[in-house]
């Protein structure tokens, strides 16, 4: 089985955001970049499927040179080869999906896995967009995946519950946290990754239709007050919630 996994490199979730002087992006100084956490679930699922059923895992990323780190890490945990669709522009989700679709289409993939969203722009668009561009069935926010006889059965998180859907392969699956527990790269894996190919292809992304006008920090929340200590403070808390905050 041939599996494509789409990866994005993002600031780690413990990043304290500072805005760059241009007022449109974050200041990258001091920021640790990591593989998007949801993409790690996608990658882990692909590796497990390969281990169970045999086949090949190709990891892809559209972005700048920095994305090579995410691709190398994926090779270290077990992907077979990597493709960087190298673009200097700041592509939006639509442009990224288009680049990925052009690369993935017609190459005989049985399954395309990606994260349900990237934790930087929180758009949650690339997976389903890619599926439509490739005219493939797709399930998003997937917490469980089973493959049987040319079909994918996926459990999706929805409001207040889950739904189980089934679709023919090939398909696009967007991973949610809970799908699996991603492994760490072993030393052996890291050594092996050095011999695996990372193909860099110059890609020209379409102009962004969703153009960033500005990026700002949210209004700072003022610290309120400590109403007291221990259970003795409960009556006062209830009073302020009713009379001041009016939320009860």
């Amino acid at each position: 089985m041939k599996i494509a996994v789409c990866l994005k490199q993002v600031p780690s979730t413990d990043t304290r955001i500072k805005i760059a002087p241009d007022g449109k992006r974050i200041d990258p100084a001091g920021v640790t970049f990591v593989t998007n956490p949801y993409d790690e679930f996608a990658l882990e699922e692909a590796i497990r499927l390969k281990e169970a059923k045999g086949g090949e895992v190709v990891v892809l990323s559209a972005g700048g040179q920095g994305a090579v780190a995410a691709l190398r890490n994926a090779l270290a945990v077990g992907a077979d080869s990597a493709v960087l669709l190298k673009t200097d522009a700041d592509p939006d989700a639509l442009a990224v999906a288009r680049l990925l679709a052009d690369e993935i289409g017609g190459k005989g993939y049985d399954l395309v896995l990606c994260g349900k969203q990237a934790v930087d722009d929180d758009a949650a668009q690339v997976g389903p967009m890619l599926a439509e561009m490739l005219d493939l069935p797709c399930a998003t926010v997937v917490v469980k995946l089973e493959l049987t006889e040319g079909k994918a059965r996926a459990t999706r998180e929805i409001e207040g519950g889950v739904e189980i859907v089934e679709m023919p392969l090939p398909a696009v699956i967007a991973a949610q946290k809970g799908l699996n527990e991603p492994r760490y790269a072993s030393l052996k894996g890291i050594m092996a990754a050095k011999k695996k190919p990372v193909e860099e292809k110059a890609a020209s992304a379409a102009a962004a239709k969703v153009e960033i006008v500005s990026l700002a920090l949210p209004p700072a929340r003022q610290a309120g007050r400590i109403v007291g200590e221990g259970a003795a403070a409960v009556p006062e808390l209830v009073r302020v919630l009713r009379e001041e905050a009016k939320v009860l």
């Binding site: 974050i26 668009q125 007050r225 905050a245």
Partner: protein
């Protein structure tokens, strides 16, 4: 200016997130160049459709077909695309619900259109739709301009007012003339399972009570559940306790979990890691209960109690029960 709203109905009932989207569409239509507001409701026999007029819809298209009796992505995409064409829509709005978040990018992919997800505000700027949207789970706020037509946006539930802008007005309701192709409907629902107790989802909850490491173990979460019950709220959790396997991921609040903005957020035994604060700082009122007076959670909380959650939480639950009985 023609604006189309995808309206979500569950079991024939139109969801409040969609009333918010129709209300906002009306506001945008009134403030932009004059135009009509259309709504498309797959899976509707027409229940409540005319009443969308009060919120500002001029015309409503319903689709009553077994393929759209519940969410089926390909068929829903086909309905929206047909409605976009019929309305010559320049703007298409979706609620950023589980359904809308799945559907909107598919429609955008088919149309090659720009989509701003999970917006908290929309406006016109020089004839273009401009959207405000939290990014990095709320650690930053991005303003984006959506170029091209149609411009697509999904609206964060509860971020826009649900307003009867035209009280008493009925919308014209028609059946959307569309032939749905069963062979195109490749994603088939096998089973739907509700979460235990059928509680309101975190993203829709008005009141959330979240627990963290301070509870010392999963066996103590009944304190959180009882407090949530007394408040009529939903249970949330910190990443630490989800990663430790104490609570399911569906309850996680913060980056890699859910971003929430309830009326009241009560954080119990949660120190306030940056990922958690990102996901709940837009709550209207935050209450923190923590034994460490230096915990970062107190820096965002409106009200705090320092002390042992095992004493404070049951006392608070009792006090609130008393309030219920008394009121």
């Amino acid at each position: 200016m023609s604006i189309l709203v995808f309206v979500e109905a569950r079991d024939g009932k139109i969801k409040s997130n969609s009333l918010e989207a129709v209300s906002e569409a009306r506001r945008l239509a009134d403030e932009g160049s004059p135009g009509e507001v259309f709504a498309v409701v797959p899976g509707s026999k027409g229940e409540g459709a005319a009443a969308l007029g009060a919120y500002g819809a001029d015309r409503v298209w319903t689709v009553d077909h077994e393929l759209v009796a519940r969410y089926q992505p390909e068929s829903f995409v086909a309905c929206v695309l047909e409605a976009v064409k019929k309305a010559s829509a320049q703007v298409v709005l979706f609620p950023a619900s589980a359904m809308g978040r799945d559907l909107a990018p598919r429609v955008a992919g088919r149309l090659g259109a720009g989509l701003a997800s999970d917006c908290t505000a929309l406006d016109w700027q020089g004839g273009a739709l401009v959207a405000t949207r939290p990014v990095y789970a709320g650690k930053a706020i991005s303003t984006v301009k959506i170029a091209g037509s149609p411009a697509l946006a999904s609206l964060r539930p509860r971020a826009f007012p649900q307003m009867e802008r035209r009280p008493g007005t009925s919308a014209a309701v028609e059946v959307l003339g569309i032939t749905l192709d069963a062979s195109r409907a490749r994603v088939r629902t096998i089973e739907v399972g509700a979460s235990e107790g059928g509680r309101v989802d975190l993203t829709e909850a008005e009141i959330i009570v979240s627990g963290g490491r301070g509870l010392r173990g999963p066996e103590n979460f009944h304190l959180i559940e009882e407090l949530a019950e007394a408040l009529g709220g939903t249970v949330g959790a910190s990443r630490a306790v989800v990663d430790a396997g104490w609570r399911p991921h569906a309850e996680q609040v913060g980056q890699t979990g859910k971003t929430v903005s309830p009326k009241l957020y009560v954080a119990v035994g949660i120190s306030g890691a940056i990922q958690h604060l990102a996901g709940m700082s837009s709550a209207r009122c935050i209450v923190a209960i923590n034994k460490d007076p230096e915990a970062p959670i107190f820096k965002v909380a409106d009200y705090g109690i320092v002390g042992d959650a095992f004493e404070i939480v049951p006392a608070l639950t009792e006090a609130l029960k008393g309030l219920r009985v008394g009121s």
